[in-house]
Amino acid sequence: MAAEEGEYPRLRLAGFGDFNFSRERRIEGPRGFSVGQFVLHLTSQLSSRVTFFGEISFTARTDAGTGSPPAPGFNAEIERMILRFDRSDRLRLSFGRYHTPINYWNTAFHHGGWLQTTISRPEMIQFGGRLLPVHFVGALVEGTVPAGGLNLGYKAGVGNGRAGVISRGGDAGDVNSDASYLVNLASKPDAVYGLEFGASLYADTITPATGDKVRERIVTAHVTYQKETPELIAEVALVRHEQAGSVLWSRAYYLQAAHRFPWDERRWKGYYRFEHINIPPADLTFAAVRNLDGSTLGIRYEASPFAAVKLEYRTWLRGAGSTRDHGGYFQVAFTF
């Protein structure tokens, strides 16, 4: 035991990165070549039951530098910082900054572009997005129980909720006296290997930078099948905002299908995703969230076991009466 204790802390460093090229009919994102995210992931085992996880990203932005107007540069961000205590598979307790575990994509792929099949994330959970809280600062208790082959996983958390700028988490403290709560249940049944399904509830009170408090309730659900022949991911999110006696529901979903082709040593994977976002015009909390009906069609090629090349076509509408837009995208994504 003493010899084993001498092995700690046991630090491991890994990383993800991507380079991109895009061409859009009407520019919504970066134009031409762009450096994607450079992500460092640190795992340090502090004892056989205590582990630290960290994730730091460096993102190219047009306004990250100094001066007026600000020069382009890289924005550094602590994406995750988690200290976890493992009692058993049934009980783990952690504290820190998480990717909010109410959305499958948000916790399955994090900032590892190489891990996700597509170039883009679904817009309902895009980085810096407002529809769903991407980050969660607080404490989480989680575990899995066999449950007769259902393999039920649970997560329950309490945290600060959204900051005044609702795309941000409450990193420096809560903006109000109301904590946020979340519960997530998911199952990976033995009977259908590769299948996972689950649902989440999230409750918070938002205090926007401008305007009155808003009671927020979010219900999400997901189904995935991850065998790659095919790979299916479907998620839906309903967001309820209650403000000054009025109740407004926003909804979003996406469906993604992919298939790894059998030829060329299974290096090619084709994919398609449809996504939809609908925001009530009266929901001023989501005034900056745009409606969407979009399709993404692409192909991914595994250039090596740790690097992938992706080519993607997207077409989308921003609500009734809007002009259809489209764009072509290219990405090299890797892990190291």
Binding site: R84, T107, G149, K227, R266, P305, A320, T335
Partner: protein, 173 residues
């Protein structure tokens, strides 16, 4: 900010497109994953003698291999020791038990660690002797070696679905 009413005529064409995509990718022929390798010996699942388990179901074995289960019932942490690629034992557990290619298995574990589900992936061992030696000295350890290499070397050979290596119907082969 005012928004125009949402159009609903996108729905039928979108659903048709979506279903067509699912059917096309779902019907694509797949290679015969899960077939047994060339005729050979059964692969024994060997654990440290202190592991309080004698039998695992095939599904439990898969969950252990994929890191979905990290502790034995006694609270002892599982340490996975797996042969390096190309070894037959690894081929059997990756291809047949996990139903993955080597690339999928690596990506699974990179993702598992990145999601903060676990701190460590499987440890690589380079020979059956090395695997059993490490199992014998690591509480909670588990490895996979050809049954002929496991006999009489210490450790505990687990039953899978009630069967030991060499018995008719043993699946890890």
């Amino acid at each position: 900010m005012m928004r125009a009413p949402r159009s609903r005529n996108w729905l039928p064409s979108t659903l048709v497109g979506w279903l067509a995509a699912v059917l096309i990718v779902g019907a694509w022929p797949t290679p015969a994953a899960g077939q047994a390798g060339s005729a050979g010996q059964d692969v024994a699942v060997v654990v440290h003698s202190g592991v309080p388990v004698d039998n695992l179901t095939y599904a439990e074995l898969r969950r252990l291999l994929l890191g979905d289960r990290e502790f034995w019932a006694s609270g002892l942490r599982v340490t996975l020791l797996i042969r390096a690629p190309i070894a037959r034992e690894r081929d059997v557990v990756v291809r047949d038990v996990c139903q993955m290619t080597e690339a999928q298995f690596r990506q699974h574990w990179i993702g598992k660690v990145f999601r903060a589900d676990t701190a460590n992936g499987p440890k690589i061992v380079y020979s059956a002797e090395n695997a059993i030696e490490q199992v014998n000295r690591t509480p909670g350890a588990m490895t996979f070696v050809l049954a002929s290499a496991a006999a009489g070397k210490g450790g505990k050979i687990l039953k899978i679905d009630g069967l030991l290596p060499g018995q008719r119907g043993y699946k890890v082969r």
